[in-house]
Amino acid sequence: MKPQIAATGEAMATDTILSVNNIEVVFNEVILVLRGLNLNVQRGKITALLGTNGAGKSTTLKAITNLLASEDGEVTRGSIQYEGEDITEIGPEALVRKGVFLVMEGRGILQDMTVIENLRLGAYSRPKAKLKEEIEEVFRFFPRLKERTGLAGYLSGGEQQMLAIGRAMMAKPKLILMDEPSMGLSPLLVKEVFGIIKRLNRELGISILLVEQNANMALHVADEGYIMENGKIVLDGSAQELMDNEDVKEFYLGGGGERRSFKDIKSYKRRKRWL
C-alpha cells in the first residue's frame, strides 16, 4: 500500500475540527518518537487511530493536549490546529476550556476521591456548571456508577473507565480524545463502552479521536481511521476501506475474514510491513 499523506493546512475542509500537521516529538531531547505525523479529525465524526505498541499513539494524544512537558517531551516541529486555531503552544488547561478533552490511557482516575468528586472535577473548566443535574445526566448513561459511594480507587476496571468517560462528559467538550478505552474490560463492558462512545457521538454530537488496540471494534464504530507505525501514519481511509485492506486484515483484524485460532500460531518471520 502506498502511504497517503493527509491534507495540509490549505486543503483543509471547513468541517475539520482538528488537524495535526507534520509534527515531530522528542523525549529528553534525544529520543525521537513522532516523525512527521499528519492526521485530521472531522467534526461530528469518530476517527480511529490504530497502531502497534509503541507506535506513538499515546504520545500523539499527549502532544495534541500539550501534556508532554511533564514527561520531558516536546513538540519540535509541525503544528496542531483546532477549529482553525493554532494550539501547538497553548496550555493544557486552556485547551480543556476550548473543548478538547483527553481520556487518558490507564483512565487517569483520581483514586483517593469519590465518584462524585471525580465527576465534579470533570466540570472544573466550566465554573457555572449545574453540577447536580449534569451528574445525574452522567448517571443516566452509567447507572452502576451511582451505587458506588466509596473511593474511586476501589472501583473495578470497567467502572473506572466509565467514570473516566463520565468525567469527560462533564466537561461538555466538542472533541474527546480517548486512549484505549476498552483496555482491560470484560467483553460485555467493551461492547458497552463502545456503545457509549457511539452514543456520545450520535446523541451529543461530540467528535472523537479514538486510539484503540481493539481494531475490530474501533473500526466498527469509527467513520475514518488511521494506521500508524513507528511515529508515522502509514495508511488512512474510511473505516470501511481500512477493514477491507488486506494488510490491515492480516495484522489488525486477524486473517482474511476467518478467525485463526491462537493455538495454531507458530513462530514465523513476519511479512515486511508498510515501512
Binding site: T65, L67, A69, S70, E71, D72, G91, P92, E93, L95, V96, R97, F101, L102, M104, G108, L110, Q111, D112, M113, E117, R120, L121, G122, Y124, S125, P127, L151, G153, Y154, R167, A171
Partner: protein, 298 residues
Amino acid sequence: MKWELFFQLLINGLIVGMLYGVVAMCFVLIYKSTQVVNFAQGEFLVLGAWVCLALVTNMQLPFFLAFIFTLIFMVAFGIIVQTVILRPLIGEPIISVIMVTIGLSIFMQALMNWIFGNDAKRFPDVFGTTDVINIAGLNVEVAYLLSLVLSVVIMAVFFWFFRFTRHGLAMRATAFDQQIAQSLGISVKQTFAMAWAISAMVSGVAGIVIGIVNSVSNSLAFVGIKVFPAVILGGLDSIVGAVVGGIIVGVLENLAEFADGQYLHLGNLYTIAPFYVLIIILMIKPYGLFGTKDIERI
C-alpha cells in the same frame, strides 16, 4: 502527684498545642495540594512576625493595619516563592523539591538575620493591659486564646475548602497526579500558587501570634521543626490530624516537662519526648492518626 502543676501544664500544653496545630495546618495545606513538604515553614512564620513588627514599630502603623498588610505581603510572598522557586521543579522527584525548600529556608534565615538582626525583639503591647487571662489558675496570653479561636476558624474553612469547593478539589487532584489534573483543565501553576499563598498567609498569622507571645527572633523558626512530629502524628494529609497532632505535641511536651522536672530529672525531655512518641505512634499507625493510607492495588 502535684495535681495543680499537672493541670496547669496540661492546659498550657493544650493551648500551645493549638498553635502548633495552626502551623501544622499550613504544612498540610501545602502537602495536600502540591505534595511538597515545606521545610521553610518555620521561616515563613518568622517572616510574618518580623514584617508585622517592622510595620508596627518602624512605620508606626496601628496593629490592626499592620496585621492586614502583613497578610497581603505574605500572600504575595507565597506566590513569588512558588512561581520563582517551585514552579520550575514541577515534575521533579519529591526529594529534589524537599531540598529546594531546605535551600529556601537557609536563604531566608540568612536574609532575615541580615535585615532584622539576630536579637529578640519585643512586640509592643498589642492588647493593652489585658495581656494575660487566668484560666483555671494558669495565666495565659490573650494572643494564644485568639489563636485558639483562629485555629478553629481556619480549620473549619480548610475543611470546607477541600471538601466542597472546586478549587479545593482541584488542589487535591493536582496533588494526586499533575498530569491528570492538567488533563481535566486544572491549571497546575495557578493551583500551586494559590496553595502557597494561602499557606504563607496562615503562617504569617501564626508567626505574629507566636511573636507576640515570645518576642520576635529568628530562632522561632524552630517551631517549623517542632511541628513535624505534629503533622506526622496527625497524618500528613489531614487537616483535623494536624490540629490533633499539634495538641498532642503541645501536651506531650508539657507532660514531659512535668515528669522530668518533678521525678526523672533528666533534663531536656521537654524537647525530645515528642520524637520518641512519634516513632512509637508511627509503628502502630504508619500513616499517623488520621492520614489516608495509600491505595496499594496491584
